[in-house]
Symmetry: D2
Subunit: 370 residues, 4 copies
């Protein structure tokens, strides 16, 4: 079965393996007339590069994007936008050993079970490099949303147990500038430094960490999302869980809501001048699967990187119990680099549902065509 396409109208198809010729994406259904060039894409891709961070893989890739189609005279034409990033720093020899066994926490075993064999170099298709295609597409979705005054902002909320204070505070109280420039992606300098100290401790123990990424969408109009299976939050849940290493998703108060009472969890409506607002936002901006005009707030829970340098017990393809020690270049935590991936998948999903919503009412369709 095909599984590399996401979206209904704004539809992306990613392809590529960690150690193949390259990684890419085809974005189909992008509206015509958007000014777009490679710099728009590269800016996003650079956010997921390991950079000089000591908490990220030592594999250094330029990740330079080439736009192969869909742009004419600096604007999208409405036809598919194909984007390509060549792999250049493959060192497949690092991986020759892992061909023979199954790394704990990785997809080695499940790929073998599904397909009979696997491209074992660097995780193949289940490598984090697959997200390059998502981020390239996310750059376009974000630019389109910006044309509609909608902004999507993700950041690291927690690494291990180290969490920013007051995680539900207004976005304006977070230091997003800080988050874009420190190695943790946290919008709070003090917490970020503590998280760094924790990561160094993990590395000293040859261990790895997980964390939480939050994402907020500002200025999303009410009415976006479909009422039953294509709920806005249901599609966001799929989008976020489709990112490798994500193990949980919540919208608004999410997990906490399960132990709350209706009287405290309900958000009262109130007139704000001539427009309707909510006094609180426990719901995270969605009621009945449809955006309610307040800020959309979701969280993704990432497991710790499975590649650790401690010895681990596992089995090999010959069916023997063995002890292994993984080599190669790995991130002790992937959360900081995944921030832009969460932001991209959120932007893609929200845009797709904005487009889907355009056919909801006969009066608006008449206005469009007549």
């Amino acid at each position: 079965m095909s599984g590399s396409t996401f979206g209904n109208i704004f539809k992306i198809t990613t392809w590529g393996e960690s150690h193949g010729a390259g990684i890419g994406v085809v974005v189909d259904g992008c509206p015509a007339g958007l000014a777009l060039n490679e710099t728009d894409i590269q800016t996003f891709l650079d956010r997921r590069k390991p950079g000089d961070s000591r908490y990220a893989t030592q594999r250094k890739e330029a990740d330079s994007v080439e736009i192969l189609s869909g742009i004419f005279e600096g604007k999208t034409t409405g036809t598919p936008i194909s984007m390509l990033v060549r792999n250049t720093a493959q060192r497949s020899s690092d991986y020759s050993e892992i061909a023979s066994y199954y790394r704990p926490g990785h997809a080695d075993y499940t790929f073998d079970q599904k397909y009979g064999f696997r491209d074992y170099r660097g995780g193949g298709r289940s490598s984090g490099r697959e997200t390059i295609g998502r981020v390239a597409a996310g750059a376009i979705a974000s630019k389109l949303l910006a044309m509609l005054d909608i902004t999507v902002t993700a950041y690291t909320q927690a690494i291990g147990d180290i969490e920013i204070p007051d995680a539900n505070c207004p976005l304006s109280q977070l230091d997003i500038e800080e988050a874009r420039n420190n190695p943790t992606g946290m919008p709070n300098q003090e917490t970020s430094l503590r998280a760094e100290a924790y990561l160094q401790e993990c590395m000293a123990r040859m261990d790895s960490a997980g964390g939480i990424i939050a994402c907020r969408v500002a200025n999303l109009p009410a009415g976006i999302g479909e009422p039953v299976f294509e709920k806005l939050d249901a599609n966001l849940a799929k989008a976020i869980l489709s990112i490798g290493a994500v193990k949980a998703f919540e919208i608004g108060d999410g997990i906490q809501a399960a132990s709350a009472n209706g009287s405290t969890n309900n958000d009262s409506f109130r007139m704000d001048g001539s427009s309707i607002t909510k006094v609180t936002n426990h719901a995270g901006g969605v009621l009945g699967g449809i955006s309610d005009g307040s800020e959309l707030l979701l969280r993704a829970y990432f497991k710790p990187t499975p590649s650790i340098f401690q010895t681990q017990e596992t089995v090999n393809r010959a069916g023997e119990n063995i002890v292994i020690q993984i080599k190669g270049r790995h991130d002790p935590v992937i959360v900081p680099r995944a921030v832009v991936v969460v932001e991209s998948m959120t932007a893609i999903t929200v845009l797709d549902m904005l487009l889907q919503n355009m056919t909801a009412r006969i009066d608006k369709i008449k206005q469009f065509y007549l």
Copy 2:
């Protein structure tokens, strides 16, 4: 945009409103040759009925299902199975008042924003009664899975703060028989009684409660799920978040995994005779989006019922701040009745991905056709 269809191969389309003529579902893509009759469906539907529970709505519906197509000589024919449940106990007069205002925590406001107006009777399409279609389809999916020796079991893990002990224990240590017969759906009599006490306290306060439903899939073969966007857990996340009132989803250790280390979160592989197993199951049965042969374990977090009998502040359609007091028939907690809904959506998703997996390998396709 259409949003009432779920699944790719085993595809369900639900329809119907709380106070319309009825509720139903069309199941398309059901394989031919499955013995099926109305009792198979009714057994599942009866599990979501309020019954005599004091913690459930006082609306009493027979919810008798009629199979309208797709069965011949007691077996599925491979063509669509259409199922209909007539609404019989509508009391629309209960709802005439709410036509004019927006109930906090409900989809009243968002429907109006999306469609320009709404069927305000009993929540219309966003009523819990919509899940009748899902459960009817889930009954079929579960029966099909049983033919492949796969079983899906959901139960209540928590109501409010009252949680069963040792939530990660083996399924065999839970009293599922108890869960099927008590009013909380909890597989532990002592916890269930405490949860009942808590619910009575909530009702005394004219308040409502939320909770957690866990669902486990036993005997699922390894290799099910697609590696990128159509990950097994990503599709389960969408399936579960598409249920009204669900605000978070986790697979395996999920939320806890975010603060764990790789050394403790990784599940070691080990030979068990001639077959490969995992020593632990923090992953919840999925690696890289593909089932790993161990038990699938997911959790759904439900918010408290938004309909409470306390006075609440809100606005009306005329744009005035008002104070309301909701009438009607409402569940103080929907978790116990939602257990079979979670089980159904899980079964539907797992079955669909089992069918999708059949085309993964050329050797198996050759075996099928030659």
Copy 3:
């Protein structure tokens, strides 16, 4: 695999067998705010009923439709519209014999090969009665198109070799009123009488006839259809070939175009006041898969009814060569009753592509949302 759903945004799912409990359709993605009642649907359904025609089956069904959902206060709500027509005049005994053999020209053999068995009563799912769902949905699509001043008109162009004169003449020169009231569906009284004579001759020979249905769409704006796989004419071709008994499809000059030269087949553009028109319309209203603003013109070629009363050679399920003589109630020609089916499938497809087109341009999206 599921195959009973058609459309991307305006999406219909049909279900039901000839001799089951009933036939129906779920229309999902219908925009909110359309005034709709059962009479709108019934008017269309009545056009496919055999009526008193001697050229149609003697099975008399009321085919009364019940709308089960999706309408509130006389208008569509944007949620699924479920429609049900009960079967009432089943005479399954007519078909007990055909359970054992394969009728030439029917789907008996292919169903058995695919599913292992079949509902043999009256053709089961491949009965012409399946089109009831299409026509009910087509009634809605047509009403929606009418709101946009777009009209869809189908009629019989030929029965056997008897064809209306000047098949490419303007629609205004055809007598559609005549077509709606005579037993052939031909918009020309003289030709219709000749076709009737031909049909009586066929019946005397215990034989059946085929024919051609033409369909025209007036006032369709330019720009509808997508450039590659989702071409307007490609989707129409699928829609039309999905009708049982259709064996060919053409758009515009279609078949004749293959032997024409570019100099005669090209349609010149010309200014008509301030708007662009085409001098001729060999293309049938589509260029590069996208509507060009002129009349859309397509044709469907129907094979003769396979049920004939002559003896025929075939095989039975036991693998023996046998001679059969079909009993039951059959149309000597299905073309007249299929006119409304062609019209419905055309309307559904055109509407779906009109809705899909709304997201083609960023300037129009901005206008919609800002």
Copy 4:
């Protein structure tokens, strides 16, 4: 709306414009384990190159394919196969003039109406070069079908009025070797020479020609195709009409069937040893949308190339009536080069429906998994 993806399980997404950086395709859902290299693809691509034919464009492109992903150790891995062909012989200056006006018979006007502007160089996305992606994917589909002993063979049946004798004769009586090596693609040397003479006459008149391509699928098992909207022939019709310049599609006797009688059009079944065959094949291998085990036979009707060198009347973007004379490099007939495109789209469609059919029966699913 996105429209560049075709297929449900074996799913292809094409991208690229005539004068952009390149043309490509992503093939998702290809089963794992198929031996595949660039030569397999190049062989197919070479069949659509103009070669030295005087009846084809003078634009000479190497059309060298690069496989960017999805292959490991010489075999497909089950993940997306991305293929890229760079454009190298663009001469955009040829097209600067046509930016300002609408060529008759081309998609210039409709693209402008849809998107507000267009990539006018060489037809942009609606160029025949778009089919490179289809043919690259068709090469894979054909190789997969060959593993199942199924072969797909297309050839030119007619150019203008020049048609091969006995178009319904068995495939074995056609000279496919001849068709692969002459400039017309006709499986009959004498007819091909006459067609060449006709084309030279057209060129002398600065005119163009159309024609008919036939395609046959041998050894397709019975039972492929879904009974209602996803009929095998309905999907083939869409696949074929999605090819630029195709104006009609027929299956089996198609057009002729409309004027036949049931007694002659019905194909009798007969035992052939222990297996069931049909005495004739007017149906073209499909009954009720499902393959019947006999040869599949379809035809595509192509209009004459719209680019002719005669003067033509049209309008420009400024809204003035003008007279134009097209320059550039154009095929006087595209039929010979389109043979491999028809073959590819047929192979892709048939393969996709073979894969879809694998979930039709519970007994076979049990056999697969247990």
